[in-house]
């Protein structure tokens, strides 16, 4: 049988939410999606981590983790008992730009479970014992993360490429030193100062049937009254390139990152950079993966990933290579990201990248949780809901030269930061031979 023709995709646009503001200022975006029997919701609170008091970084995370440990209406473990018995789940996390509290429940139980979501956001008791326990658990988690090469590498890379002094250069959930200092008073003060309806946006998606989601939200969140002052977002800058080798005696692989501080969705080069990064290290047969995995067998996979924040972002190639070939792989990767001369991105490559990035949007937004996640990411970045659609049009307008030049500007091979987590005894020599001025670090155990 011959290869079948592919008919062009049906036009798809990101649906416009119903957007309404409650009397207390809470902005509510609702997507009614028939057939989506789980309701997915995220409360985005405009709470940059730069708002954390300097000595107690990580307080946002401890607050997140204590939200479901008891509320005024459901003290202690009765809150989780009640929440779970309704088939609901609550989660909370922080990025550098916002806190997000997520909630999921079968549609049939939305009305009975939504008040619990509101209690967790509005009136967590934040008891001393819970705060102290979560501080201990976070300290243990820091040790777990440090032991994990990919996590250790990601954290070191962030620390190296984001200008020192910016909150975004340090871990979201705080360091051992700052977390150990967090007290119950800190956590309560943080909640008091920043959790308020004017700085919050609630996104909900799913099959609401005949019920009126706005009314349900108003019934639960309408009583939320607290005036909080907005905190400015920091606009970090990148730092000078470095080469860090974090020693892991006997490690069989080297976790490698190569990249630098990048751009965010508001930069005019963003569509071109996304496409260029896909050509170099996004698709399965990207320039990097085709050679380093499919030809050389050096790695299970290599990606060049863009991680935008509200202001700036991270741009990094990431892969794990077996120790014996890691230095050779880094050298080859540096060549593979060059787009000068006859290595410029081609129209055919660009076309596949456009097809992928435009085409996957409906797949990603097919479920309630996919829609909620996408919308919450936009809210967090301060972008409108039609960004997905205007971005799709922008992607289609990019020409190959623009993608080439975005990559050339933002991934200049000689100006990138290298972070390797691996066996320094085996790696330091061959990496230095490639001209990297290595700083070798050894973690204390």
């Amino acid at each position: 049988m011959k290869r079948p023709e592919v008919s062009p995709p049906q036009p798809w646009t990101f649906p416009a939410p119903r957007s309404e503001r409650l009397d207390n200022g809470l902005l509510v975006h609702t997507f009614h999606r028939p057939g989506q029997h789980l309701i997915d919701a995220t409360m985005v609170i405009d709470l940059p981590l730069a708002a954390e008091p300097a000595g107690v970084e990580g307080v946002s995370t401890i607050l997140n983790r204590c939200l479901d440990e008891g509320t005024a209406g459901h003290p202690g473990t009765t809150f989780a008992d009640d929440l779970e018995s309704r088939g609901a789940v609550l989660g909370a996390g922080s990025s550098y730009d916002a806190a997000h509290v997520s909630f999921e429940v079968p549609a049939t139980r939305l009305a009975e479970a939504l008040p619990l979501f509101a209690e967790a956001v509005l009136e967590p008791t934040l008891d001393e014992a819970d705060v102290r326990r979560h501080v201990q658990l976070r300290l243990a988690e820091i040790e777990q993360q440090r032991a994990h090469p990919a996590h250790r590498g990601a954290q070191a890379f962030r620390g190296a490429v984001v200008g020192s002094g910016y909150r975004a250069s340090r871990p979201t959930a705080g360091t051992g030193e700052t977390v150990a200092r967090i007290t119950t008073a800190d956590v309560r003060a943080h909640h008091c100062a920043h959790y308020g309806p004017q700085r919050a946006t609630l996104v909900l998606a799913g099959d609401f049937g005949d019920s009126d989601p706005k009314q349900l939200v108003a019934d639960s969140f309408g009583r939320w009254q607290r005036t909080t002052a907005a905190v400015p977002h920091e606009t970090p800058l990148g730092d000078e390139p470095r080469a860090l080798l974090i020693h892991r005696a006997g490690a069989v692989q080297a976790d490698v990152r190569l990249g630098q501080f990048g751009i965010d969705r508001t930069d005019s080069r963003w569509p071109a950079l996304r496409l260029g990064a896909f050509v170099l290290g996004g698709g399965f047969l990207s320039r990097l993966n085709r050679v380093l995995r499919e030809e050389r067998g050096y790695t299970y996979g290599v990606q060049l990933a863009n991680t935008p924040a509200r202001h700036g972002g991270l741009l990094a190639l990431h892969a794990s290579f077996r120790t014996e070939v890691a230095a050779a792989a880094v050298a080859e990767a540096r060549e593979l990201i060059r787009v000068d001369g006859d290595r410029a991105i081609t129209a055919a490559e660009l076309n596949e990248a456009v097809n992928f990035l435009v085409g996957v949007a409906p797949l990603r937004c097919a479920t309630a949780s996919g829609l909620t996640d996408q919308m919450a990411a936009l809210v967090e970045a301060g972008l409108p809901s039609d960004f997905v659609n205007t971005h799709a049009l922008d992607l289609k307008r990019v020409i190959a030269d623009e993608a080439t030049s975005a990559v050339a500007q933002l991934m200049p091979p000689e100006r990138l930061t290298l972070v390797v987590v691996g066996d320094a005894d085996a790696l330091a020599g061959p990496l230095s031979d490639q001209g990297f001025a290595l700083e070798v670090l050894t973690d204390q155990r």
């Binding site: 290869r3 079948p4 995709p9 790695t299 299970y300």
Partner: protein
């Protein structure tokens, strides 16, 4: 008991091609996308001694080209139309899947049929993907703390010669010695339309879908496939087998392991709920006892892994906070298991677990790709994709007594094996 809302039932359309390919279609036009999901009834349980890891290595080779496609083109072609594709290997099966815009359904079907009909097995591809798989093993198992836990667990739970006695990733030695002849034999033994189930979920009408599938797969011949020995359930573990691993882990940890019955039998379902009461989420008994009350663990949990071949496995585990020993963690878990067996669960605990099961189940059904995978799964392992529509009712029907009895019969501490991780001192 808390009220249990009615759930959705998905309409299923079934047909079997002359070559034995079983086709299932669940039309859903809420988004212009189709999920294609193909299960081959072969997993690591079908590997022979000395050839572990072959099922998974073979899954990699399935992406390395066919008569009309070059190496890697399968994935690139799907991505090039705005779709996604992948495959996974497990003890009981190998699944391949694509999610594509409606207009690319024929492409996805053709790519799957191409590689089933004309896979390009070469020494070069084998050597390359063997290296890739070894890097996968290093990255996911060997170079991360506790990455090898599954290897130890199956080795403790099963005799080495048992179909489940080795992990799907296989051993480095066996991977190194796999030959092209092994791969060819594996292909001819297990890859045939009559050893597969193909499910479509999404924007496709059943008659149209069957026609397209027949056009792509209809000419492929039926083939004799391996006959598996009937699965014989293993007796409970005895003598408390114990393994102590000294490793570069940040905290000591302990795992308790039990043998359980075949997946989705009433006894398995009941003991799975029992393990969830013990160890799923922050309301569970182990979390409350070890993390919240005794403050000896940074995490504690319990769960079951259902397998079709006569014996499944159940686990309970905890990771120590500084100052706590694995002995103390193990003693606390054993005490909680004993108390559970003596008292049984409460109605409230069982209702919570059922409510959480419902949410997780609806979450699996919300996505086309995971919904399609469930239909393929139940058709392949249980013979009936419509079992997906009955699953919640089966779980809801379990009583507190069923669950208490299953725990008493299956989770007795004397029938456990134990895995301990001790932090190696540098």
């Amino acid at each position: 008991m808390a009220h249990m809302p009615a759930v959705v039932r998905y309409s299923l359309h079934e047909s079997t091609l002359d070559n034995g390919l079983r086709v299932i279609i669940n039309p859903d036009d809420t988004v212009p996308v189709v999920a294609v999901n193909l299960w081959y009834d072969v997993g690591s349980r079908d590997e022979s001694p000395g050839r572990t890891g072959l099922a998974h290595l073979f899954e990699h080779l399935m992406f390395e080209g066919s008569a009309q496609t070059s190496a890697g083109e399968h994935l690139a072609a799907i991505q090039g139309v705005g779709g996604s594709a992948n495959a996974t290997t497990w003890f009981d099966r190998t699944n391949y899947f694509e999610t594509v815009p409606t207009g690319a359904l024929d492409l996805a079907l053709w790519l799957e049929a191409e590689r089933l009909g004309t896979l390009d097995l070469t020494q070069h591809n084998l050597d390359n993907q063997r290296d890739v798989v070894m890097e996968e093993k290093r990255q996911r198992y060997d170079n991360v703390p506790y990455g090898d836990v599954l290897i130890h667990l199956v080795e403790l739970a099963f005799p080495v010669e048992h179909p489940y006695g080795h992990p799907t990733i296989g051993s480095m030695d066996d991977l190194a010695s796999a030959t092209l002849a092994d791969a060819q034999r594996f292909f001819s033994t297990h890859y045939a339309p009559n050893n597969a189930v193909l499910t479509l979920v999404g924007d496709v009408r059943p008659d149209d879908g069957f026609r397209r599938v027949a056009r792509a797969f209809g000419q492929l011949p039926k083939a004799p496939t391996a006959v598996r020995a009937p699965a014989v359930p293993l007796p409970p573990l005895t003598g408390t087998p114990r393994r102590r691993v000294s490793a570069a882990v940040p905290a000591d940890a302990v795992y308790l392991i039990w043998r359980l019955p075949t997946r989705d039998t009433p006894a398995f379902d009941a003991v799975e709920v029992a393990l969830a009461v013990l160890g799923d989420g922050q309301t569970s008994r182990l979390h409350r006892r070890l993390v919240r009350t005794d403050l000896i663990a940074e995490g504690a949990g319990a769960s079951a892994t259902g397998l079709i071949g006569g014996t499944s496995i159940g686990f309970a585990n905890a990771r120590a906070l500084p100052g706590a020993t694995t002995e103390r963690l193990e003693a606390a878990i054993v005490e909680e298991v004993e108390r559970f067996i003596a008292e049984g669960p409460t109605e409230a605990e069982v209702d919570r677990v059922k409510a959480q099961y419902e949410r997780e189940w609806l979450g699996e059904l919300a996505r086309f790709d995971t919904r399609a995978d469930l239909f393929s799964c139940y058709a392949t392992l249980h013979g009936d994709p419509d079992a997906v529509n009955r699953r919640l009712d089966e779980v809801r029907a379990l009583s507190v007594d069923d669950i208490g009895r299953a725990a008493a019969a299956l989770l007795a501490p004397e029938n456990r094996a134990v895995l301990e991780y001790r932090r190696a001192t540098a």
